[in-house]
Amino acid sequence: MKFFAGPEYSLKYEEQGVRCVSAKNAVNKKKTKFTRDSVVVGLMLAPAVIFLCVCSIYPFIWIFRYICYDYNGFTANYTGMRNFTRMLGDKTFWNSVGHTFEYAGYKLIFIIPLALVVAVLLNNRMKGTSIFRGVYFMPTIISTSISGMIFTFIFATQNGVLNAMLTKLHLIDSPVKWLTSQGVVMAAVTIMAIWGGFGNYMLYFINGMNGISEDVYESAKIDGANGFQTFFKITLPMLSPVLKVILMLAITGAFKDYEAILVLTKGGPGNRSMVMFLYIYNLIFGSSSASSQPQIGYGALLSVVAAIIVGIVTVIYMRISRKLDDVV
């Protein structure tokens, strides 16, 4: 083997020599090589960029094209400002905006504290922490459409398991009309949303808490802080940057939810659980109950308005959270 070592070395040196000599040529060659390389780069980026253009940018532009049209999928008529005036007088839409805020409010009020408390407890290294975490997170892997369906069975008035249990525990006398009474349908929708989402936010919180140094807790313990003090004086303040991000994700997420509601209640009864994106979906693809014609132009306008509403809420939230920074 040793015999081969010599020639190998010399080969390497020779190669280097060749490189030095041809350095001049390389300058000329550089241009062609650069283009071939950039073609490769372009090709590798192409699928993602094409997807971005087709699936995100094209629909976005398309929407603006039909804002002033009456379009049912086949014929489009220019109607000028009529869509705008219709929107201003559309009670169903503005009610659905109200319901969206209501739903988002309920969801956040319950889901964020629950997720935070659960995360803190899991961080305390209880027995079976990883099992708890796995179970709590489990609902998020189930399709929202399927969980909507599951809860239709659970909330069923006559033969639903929830009413049966509540009756057995003597908490209610007559079955609650979870999905068909205007008074409680929001509660039903909220329960489903909490079930499906709190594991997700719990995981965000756990992840954020991993960033808090163990020493801080150690010294707090030495100073004699109890669990509540540790939570309010240490965990919460040190978590606040993460908390802000999580809250923003939760807010924008809650405003976008409509899939599970579509399955659970279809926005009923009497549009009581109609959120704005569900109303828009019904306009654009025709609601399944009534064989109404799709009203795509009007739906396009409303979806722009809905996107703006979500945008405004996000901006307001960011303002407030910045203000809180100054106060605390």
Partner: protein, 288 residues
């Protein structure tokens, strides 16, 4: 990190015990709907229509599944779901790793702009309206007769998260490896395929799981695309179509079985790879 082996006083022990019991209760509540559906799928239809608090069936009926599989077309639905989920997964893996690598390693004109567009359209959400132009496009291209259009759109609208994930991961791989590969005569693409891709395995596992879940759970889009075509429906749509059918109350047992078929594969995958799921969720959202 050492586990704190603190000595707890009796009162704090009791508090911990109470908290632990509350956690168990919460876990039971969380898991209950799934248990209820899975065991309910073995109940006779008559038992389901009467209701009651029993979780376990009084008489185990296995024919629900045979009925669902044959009469209610669930064999086709399941195949479609698998096709959809695997398709979304494969496309997401290819596009995300390639563009993540390019974004991490290359400087070129317009890079900031393209990247900014990806971020921007992650936050702009106009809801279901964006499916309308895509649907019309698919009809024009005669692609609405196969699930491929659904796969492409699903992969296309979910790709941003995966690209960020893989870009972040490539950033942690030392650049020296690329340079070494280059000296050895690798082209840019060869470096990706032979050097980077094998190192991306952990993040690829995460992307694969998340995108598989995305494809498997997709609902609104396949619902819209298969309005008139029963043969293309995945499980999520097929099961819910049963519910919307006029005599829906009559077939609870089949709906329970269908929902179980839709949940169980995902649950098994989750039990096996829950760590990757959780890693992906957190690194995709909070860190990224």
């Amino acid at each position: 990190m050492e586990k704190g082996h603190a000595v707890y006083s009796t009162s704090s022990k009791i508090v911990r015990m109470i908290l632990w019991i509350l956690m168990v209760l919460l876990a039971v509540v969380t898991i209950f709907p799934v248990i209820y559906i899975v065991f309910g799928s073995f109940k006779a239809n008559a038992e389901l229509l009467v209701g009651g608090t029993n979780i376990f069936p009084s008489k185990w009926v296995f024919s629900n599944y045979a009925d669902a599989w044959q009469q209610a077309n669930f064999a086709t639905y399941t195949l479609n779901s698998v096709f959809l989920a695997v398709g979304v997964m494969l496309i997401s893996l290819v596009t995300a790793t390639m563009s993540g690598y390019v974004f991490s390693r290359r400087q070129f004109k317009g890079k900031e702009l393209i990247y900014g567009l990806f971020v921007m359209f992650m936050f702009i959400n106009v809801g279901s309206v964006s499916l309308r132009p895509l649907f019309e496009l698919a009809v024009k291209l005669k692609m609405n007769q196969s699930l491929l259009s659904v796969i492409f759109i699903s992969a296309g609208s979910g790709q941003a998260t995966y690209i960020f994930l893989s870009r972040g991961f490539v950033n942690t791989i030392p650049k020296e490896l690329d340079e070494a590969a280059k000296i050895d005569g690798c082209t840019f693409f060869q470096t990706y395929r032979l050097v980077i891709l094998p190192l991306l395995k952990p993040v690829m596992a995460t992307i694969a799981l998340l995108s598989f879940r995305q494809g498997w759970n997709e609902y609104i889009m396949p619902l819209v695309f298969t309005m008139t075509n029963d043969k293309l429906r995945p499980l999520t749509v097929g099961v819910n179509m049963l519910k919307n059918a006029g005599d829906g109350t009559a077939a609870w047992n089949i709906m329970f079985a269908g929902a179980t078929i839709a949940i169980i594969p995902m649950l098994i995958i989750y039990c096996m790879f829950s760590r990757y799921f959780m890693n992906g969720i957190t690194s995709g959202a909070v860190k990224g």
